[in-house]
Symmetry: D2
Subunit: 342 residues, 4 copies
C-alpha cells in the first residue's frame, strides 16, 4: 500500500485527492493547505486523514511514499526538491517548474534517487487525445501539414503567471504527445490589458519541416473555444472539446494537385467525402493518469508524462516569454539545456 | 445614364454585371472575357449587351464611362491604368494591385484626371460589418483590446496569389474600416504544402497601442470558419459570418480589477451579463457597393473604399509577403510609400 | 424536342422555368401569369419565349407538349384537367389537388389519354433524401421504430391553405418515399391564431405495426427547424436540412434487452458507437426532378412522383383536416377512395 | 435544527443528501437503502450518519422531523403515508405517486396533521425556468399561442414506468408553473419497441383557449434534445437546456395581420428584430429547492411544488396513460378528483 501526501487543496486539489484515493494499492493519508477554508472543506469529507497546514508535516513524514504538489507554480521546485530529497516520488501540477533549470535539477535528483516524477498533463489521458493518438499512429491522416489550436475563454486569471503559462501547458503537452516531431523554435506575441501579465497571446511553433503549429491563447474571450484542427495529407481532423457528444470529427477531405504545367494550368482538385465521429472513451482522465503513476511506481517504468516531458513544456513556455519580450523574435526551444535532455 | 463596361466574366463577374445593371442611372453596355465558355454563359442572359473577347474593345469604347476590372490580380494595374488614361472611372476587384507602387500610380493618375477609383472590398457593405461599425462608433464596446479574425476553409485556391493575397484583403479592409487606428507593423508566418504558394498563414498586426490584431488564414481547413472576435473594455463581440440568423452577438462580459495589492491579493472580477444579437440588414452588399460607387461619381464624392483604402490593404499584403519571406520578422506597413499616402 | 408551357410565374415559377429550360430535349416556349409584375420580371430574362396573361393561350397551344401548373392549389384541378384533355403531359405543383376526388379524376384521365402526371415533390430528388433512401434500402438502420419530423419557421403564410397543406406535402411525400409501409390512419391537432387557417399543427401517423410517425408543423416559430429523426432497431439517423455541411448523421446507437426476468431485473443495455456523416450530392433537386419527368415521357415510364403518389399525399392532407375538425379523432387515410388507389 | 432521514440512495439520492445536508438549520441524520452497494458508497462520505437498510428505522425514528422519499414511484405512497402518520414532513421524488387517488390521500393526511409535502419538481428552481417565469410575468411575450416541448435522448430507461411517467413530470410541472391557465384535456400517443412500456410518446394538451401545448418524449433518440419553444403574440422564446451558455433566447419576431379583405388580399406581415439571451442564474436548482422546503417548514408556508402541484402532474400522467390505451382519445385531466382539488 502506497501512502500519499497532498500539498495544496485549492481549485484542483480536491480532484487529485479524490482520484488518488480511489486507486487500489494507494491511499491519501495526509493533506496540507495554508488556507483555513480549504482545510475546513476537507474535514468531514474523508475519514482517517491527517489534515495539516505546514508542508513539512508531509515532506518529513516517513510513512509517506508519494507527494503530490498541487500549489502555485513558483513553489513547485522547492517542494518537489524536498520531497525527492526525502525519498518520495512526486506528482507535480502543470507547469512542472518556473524554469527549465529547475526542471533539469529535479530530473537529475529523481534519477539519482531512483524516484519517479509525473507532471500533471491530464489532457493526454482524455479519451479524445488518446483516440487522436491512435488515429495518427495508424496513419489515418497521412503526413501532418499543420496543427492549429485555440484555447480561449473569459478567465480564469492566474495571478502569478501569464496566459501562456496558464493555458499553453495543456496544448504544448498535447501537441508533443500527438506529433512525432520535435519543435525547434517558436515566435510568440502577447499583450496585457488588465494587469502586467499577458492576457492574450499567439504562438507559432516551427519544426524542421513544412509542418506548422499555431496556438491562440486568450483570457478575454466572451466565448469558450477549445478547438484543434489537424490538417493532414490524406484526411483532416477537428477536435472540439466543448462538444459533449462529437468531440472528434475526421473529414475525408483533401487537396490533390493533378497537373502542374505552369501556375495558370495548375489543376488543384478537392476531394470531399464522408465525415466520421468516432466514439470517445468517457473515463475521467485524471483517474487514468493517477492509475498510470501508481503503476509506474509499482513496476518501475517511466510515466508518459515524466519530468522530461514536463521539462520540454517548460522550455516551450520559456521560449514564449523570451519571444514576447523581444517583439515576436523567433526563439530556439530549449537550446540552453539540449545537452541535458539529449 | 452612365455606361459601364465589364472586363472579366469568371466566378465573380456575373454578380458584378447583375448588380451594376440593376442600378438606376447606370447600365452595363459591354462585357468582355477571353474564355469562350464565359461568353456563352453570358449570351442569352442579357439583351442589348456588347459581348467581346478583347479588353480593348471596352477600354477604347468612347461611350463607356466606367470600367469594372474583374480579372486576376496581375492584370489589374495595366487594365485600370488604360481605363483611367482613357478617362473612365474604374471599379477594381480586390486586391487593388500587385504592388503598392502600382496602386500609388493609379491613385495619382485618377486624381490628375479627376476620376474615381473604387476597390471591391464588398464586405464593408454587408449588414453585419455596418452594424458592427455603428456599435463601435457608439462606443458600445469601449476601448478595443484585440481583433481576432479567422477565415479558413478548403480552397478555393487561387493559382496566382497565396492564401494571404486571396483571403486577407477581406479581413484587412474590414479591420481598417472598423478600427480607428492605423496599423504600424505586422509579422506573418506562412507555409506551402500543395504548391509553392502559401496555403496557410497567420498574421499579427501591431498598432501604437496595446491593441493587437491577429488573422488566421487557411486554404486547407476541413471546416469553413468565418469568425471575428472583438474584445473591448466594456463589452465583447463575436461576428460569425456563417451563422445565417445570428451573425453578431454582443456579450456584456468583462474583467475588472478591483484591488491590486500585490499579485496574490489581486482581485480580478468577471462580469457576465446578457447576450444580444441585433438584427442585421439582409440587403446584398454588392448592390449597396455598386450604388455607392455610382452615387460617388454622380456627386463627385470619395468612395469609402477608394484607391487609398485599396493601397493600404495592398501595403499590408506586401508586408505579409515580406515577413513570411523573412521568417516572421516584424515589417513596417507601407514604410516605402508613407510620403505618398500621408 | 418537347415544348413546355408554364402557367404561373410567382415565387416558385422562375425556378421551374430555369430548370425545365436547361434540359436537353426540352424547352420552355411559353409562360403565363395574371400578374403584370411577374410578366415584367420575365421579359428580358429569356429570349424567344411567348409571354402571356391567359392560361388558355398555353392550354390551347397545339405546339405545346407539356404544361407545368405552378399556381395556387385551388386552381390545379381545372388547369391540369384542361391540359390533359388537350393531350398534354402535366407537371403540377404540390399539393396535387384540393381533394382526392379531383386527384383520382386526373389520374384516370391521364391513364385514358396515356399521358404522364408528375407532382412536384421536389424533396425526394434531394441528395439527402436519396442518400437516406439508399441507407434504408441497404437495411443500415434495421427495422424502423419511428419517424419524427419537424418543419417549423416564421411564415411564409399561404393565404389559401393552412400550415398542414403548406408544409406537410414535403414531409408526407418524403416519408412515403422512405418508409416501405402504407400509413393507415392519422390524428391531427391544429390551432389558428392569426386568421382562420391553422398556423400550428401536430400529426401522428399510424401503420399496421408498432411504427409511429409524427409531424410538427408551425408557421409561428422564431427559429427555422428542418429535422427528421429516424429510429431503427440497429441504428438511428438524424437529417438536419438546415445544416449546410452535415445534413445526415447516422448513429451507431441502440438499445438491447439482455435479460427479462421480471421488470426489476430487466437489463436494458445501450450501445453507443461512432457517428457517420456521409457525403450528400449537391445537385439541385429540381433539376433532377425535371430531367426525370422528361425522361419518363420519352421512355413512357412512370415517374417516382406520379399522380398516384400525389393522390396519397392529398389523402393524408384530407385526413389531417378531417381530424383537426374533429378534435384529433383518428381518421383512416384514403378510406373513401381505396378502391380506386388499390 | 431539523433532522432529516433519507430513504433511497440510488441515482438521485446522493444529490439529495448532499444538498439537504448543506442547508443551515437542517442536517441529514440517517440514510437507508436496501442495496449494499449504495450503503457502501455512503459509508465514509459522511460522518455521524445513521446508515441502515430498513426504511422503518427512519420512519419510526422519533428524532427525525423530515423524511425524503427517493425510491421508485410504486413505493412513494406507502413510505410517504407512514412518514406523515408518524408526524414527519415529506419530500417525495417525482412523480408524486402512482395514482391521483394516492396523491389525494397524502394531501389530506398532511393537511390533517399540519405537515408539509414537497414533490421534487427540481426544474422549477433552475435559473432558466425562473427567468422565463419572470419574463412571462412581465408580459414580455404577450398572450401565449403555444408551448412546444421536446425532451428526447437514448435512455435512461426506467424499469417500472413508461417514458411519459419518466420524463413528462419535468415538463408538465414546468408548464404548470409557467403558464397561468389550467390544462383541461389531453391526447397522447405512445409506442413500445423494447419491452411493454412505451418508449416514445407525444402528448397534446388542450386549454379552454386557442393555446396549445405539445410534448415530445422519447427514450430512443440518438441525440439529446431539451428544447421548449414558447410562441407569444408579441415575442417568441426558445429555451435550449443543453446549451451551456445561452439557454434562453428571446426573439423579437412576430406576425401581424394588416388587412383582411378576403383571403387573397390578406396582408400578413412579419416582424423580425433583435434576439436577446438574458443571463441565467447558475445556482444548483436542487439546493434552492431544499432551502425552499426547509423555509416553508420553518415559516409554515406552502411550497411552490406542494402536494397539490404533485397531484396535478399525476393527473396529467394518468390522463396520458388513459389516452394512450384508447388510441389517442382526448381525456379530461383530473376529472375524477376535481371535487377534491377544487
Amino acid at each position: 500500500m502506497l501512502n500519499i501526501g497532498v500539498i495544496g487543496y485549492g481549485y484542483w486539489g480536491p480532484n487529485i485527492v479524490r482520484n488518488l484515493n480511489a486507486i487500489e494499492g494507494a491511499r491519501v493519508v495526509a493533506v496540507c493547505d495554508r488556507d483555513q477554508g480549504a482545510l475546513k472543506r476537507l474535514s468531514g469529507a474523508y475519514k482517517q486523514l491527517k489534515i495539516c497546514s505546514q508542508s513539512d508535516e508531509i515532506l518529513n513524514d516517513t510513512t509517506i511514499d508519494i507527494v503530490a504538489v498541487v500549489t502555485p507554480v513558483c513553489t513547485h521546485f522547492e517542494l518537489a526538491k524536498k520531497a525527492l530529497e526525502n525519498g518520495k516520488h512526486v506528482f507535480v501540477e502543470k507547469p512542472f517548474t518556473s524554469s527549465s533549470a529547475q526542471a533539469v535539477e529535479l530530473i537529475e535528483l529523481a534519477e539519482k534517487k531512483n524516484l519517479k516524477i509525473m507532471v500533471d498533463h491530464t489532457f493526454i489521458f482524455t479519451g479524445a487525445v488518446r483516440k487522436i493518438k491512435d488515429l495518427l499512429a495508424q496513419g489515418e491522416l497521412g503526413d501532418i501539414y499543420y496543427y492549429d489550436s485555440v484555447r480561449v475563454n473569459l478567465g480564469l486569471f492566474q495571478h502569478d503567471v501569464n496566459v501562456v503559462w496558464d493555458l499553453a501547458p495543456h496544448d504544448f503537452s498535447i501537441m508533443r504527445y500527438l506529433i512525432n516531431e520535435k519543435p525547434l523554435a517558436l515566435s510568440a506575441w502577447g499583450r496585457s490589458h488588465i494587469n502586467k501579465l499577458e492576457d492574450i497571446a499567439y504562438v507559432t511553433v516551427h519544426f524542421g519541416s513544412s509542418k506548422l503549429a499555431h496556438f491562440s491563447l486568450n483570457w478575454l474571450s466572451p466565448v469558450k473555444v477549445r478547438t484543434t484542427l489537424i490538417g493532414g495529407e490524406k484526411k483532416m481532423l477537428v477536435w472540439n472539446d466543448v462538444n459533449p457528444d462529437e468531440k472528434i470529427k475526421i473529414y475525408d477531405k483533401g487537396v490533390e494537385v493533378k497537373n502542374a504545367q505552369g501556375i495558370y494550368d495548375l489543376l488543384v482538385s478537392y476531394r470531399s467525402g464522408d465525415m466520421w465521429a468516432p466514439k470517445v472513451q468517457q473515463t475521467e482522465a485524471l483517474k487514468l493518469e493517477c492509475q498510470h503513476f501508481i503503476q509506474c511506481i509499482e513496476q518501475d517504468s517511466t510515466p508518459l508524462n515524466d519530468g522530461v516531458v514536463g521539462l520540454e513544456v517548460v522550455q516551450m513556455l520559456e521560449a514564449c516569454n523570451e519571444s514576447i519580450k523581444n517583439g515576436g523574435r523567433m526563439v530556439q526551444i530549449g537550446s540552453d539545456v539540449l545537452s541535458v535532455t539529449g
